[in-house]
Symmetry: C2
Subunit: 307 residues, 2 copies
DNA sequence: CTTGTTGATAGCTTTTCATTATCAAAAACA
DNA sequence: TGTTTTTGATAATGAAAAGCTATCAACAAG
């Protein structure tokens, strides 16, 4: 590493002040210190650099060529230092500046458009950097500090992350048009799924596990094929390959673009809990409720869109 | 003026060290301080900026987004600071870097080519900024610190400048071809000028006063016309308007390009003393003899060129 | 359940930086 | 010319900052 620098920012301030005032006393006044303090500091700097910066004598204080160059660089350094302080001020509110946000793939396409808009409106100083990843990867990224906060579904092992609830996302039954269970619009009991063939996502998606446990009461058959995404899954259902459980958040988008019939499940309907999670004790902790509030309104809006 | 900055270069060094090592203890080792010193300084900086820079916890030390930005700026500032120190080192020798040099107009055209070459060869680190001005202006510029050193002729009022001799520049008689005094090549006595019409430079050139005092013994007549430069003066002589005294330094150049006859003056021949002058006590003081040595060799070379 | 590692904290010492008082040199004034 | 004023440098001293050693609490690894 670099050796300790033989100069201080204060010394540079003093040098610039003298260069501007061409007068030690007035410069000291500008710096709000006594004149000897300034004289001593400048002498110390000249000693440390081995260079005369000022020429003291008749005709007042003048700069040596070396001093001329050093003053120019000093101004540059001081400007950069003030910029650093400004930057820090901008970051004082954790909800200003860049924030690395994660979201799971079964939520991203349905929530992101709405959430991005909400953030732009309600937290204009925030610059979100969205990363789409599955729960496992998100938890690791949060733990390791590669990510600041994330939107995911509970019943995952969040180790020691903190979280706040954003909303409850109930499951609906999706069936191909013409299927027996596609008749009627009222709630369907889970018992009706008995013996039906169910389509699920591939391993690694928390939604897969949640859907499985929702069906756990009914003896259903899982198809060999496992979809890589919700849109694919819905396409499969539409083509008559089987049934599936869809979270309400996906309904407005998915039911609109594929010929599937959707029906709610009978109360108490199974649901997944959407949360905002962050590393416990992270810089976000205090501001997390504010962020969660904004996101919650977005999530609620999406859940209300259900046809 | 700017308020005192709430941060120190050392703090920035510590921050960068921790960011690099992602480890307080190792960073402290790199900085050659005990770990608590580093912890305290970083805590103080975080307090001063009102921003968490590092996230301490499982998985080691990580940067907050604010920290990421601050570290980048810190690196920038530290780099600039080291550059400043480097710059100072380059200026430690006053004969390295820029030097503002003055020279009087009656020397400039004859000495500068030679001197510039000598400096380039013998003081390669020196970057001379030549300014041509008359003695009066040069003395003022030196006093006021607008110039660092100058080449001029003595018998000027140098007030409290210091100086070193560079050489003696004896006067020669210049006459038009065919003029009575142009016969023969041997030394001419000043008495021979009795009653001759002399051409001189305009007011303000020290050479004018020096030539006048050289002729003071002989009753000569000065022409109404006063030349603005030595080349002009020589042209006037060549055209038969009169005689003049030329310093030897100008002979090689002037006698070669105008049809004038040049003869030395009888011993003890009048001369002007060429010196290097600088502000007493200026940063140049210690290095002036070295500079003068280089210049003296150049001046001697020019004076030897005489045909 | 110990053991080793992390960064934070406490108590004390050293260093740094500032203060006031004063000086010598140089301008400015009379 | 001699005084007065103004300049930056210096000395003595006190307060603040930053360092050190020792120790702590939290956590991970045996």
């Amino acid at each position: 590493m670099s050796a300790p620098l033989p100069l201080s920012l204060r010394q540079l301030q003093y040098v610039v002040a003298v260069a501007d005032a061409r007068h030690f006393r007035r410069a000291a006044e500008q710096c709000a210190v006594a004149q000897p303090a300034l004289s001593t500091q400048i002498a110390a700097l000249e000693e440390a650099l081995g260079v005369r910066i000022f020429e003291r004598g008749r005709g007042g204080v003048t700069l040596t060529p070396a001093g001329e160059a050093l003053v120019a660089r000093s101004r540059e350094i001081l400007r950069a230092s003030e910029a650093l302080v400004q930057e820090a001020r901008r970051h004082q509110d954790p909800l200003a500046g860049t924030l690395r946000l994660g979201i799971i793939p079964t939520l991203a396409p349905y929530l992101l458009p709405e959430l991005a808009t909400r953030i732009r409106q309600d937290l204009p100083a925030l610059v979100p950097r969205w990363v789409e990843e599955r729960t496992r990867g998100i938890v690791a990224a949060l733990q390791e500090g590669r990510m600041d906060a994330s939107i995911l579904a509970l019943e995952a092992d969040l180790e020691d992350l903190d979280w706040l609830e954003l909303g409850r996302d109930p499951f609906h039954l999706a069936a191909p048009r013409g299927h027996a269970l596609a008749e009627g619009r009222g709630p369907v009991g889970l018992g009706a799924l008995e013996g039906e063939r169910m389509l699920l996502l591939e391993d690694g998606h928390c939604l897969r596990d949640q859907a499985l446990s929702a069906c756990s009461g009914a003896r259903v058959e899982e198809l060999g094929y496992r979809a890589t995404s919700l849109p694919t899954l819905v396409q499969m259902v539409a083509s008559g390959a089987g049934l599936t459980l869809l979270p309400r958040s996906a309904l407005a988008t998915e039911a609109a673009r594929a010929p599937v019939q959707v029906r709610p499940l009978e109360e108490p309907a199974p649901f997944r809990t959407l949360v905002l999670a962050w590393r416990r004790g992270s810089f976000l902790s205090e501001a997390a409720p504010r962020l969660a509030g904004v996101l919650r309104r977005g999530v609620e809006a999406v859940l209300r869109e259900t046809p």
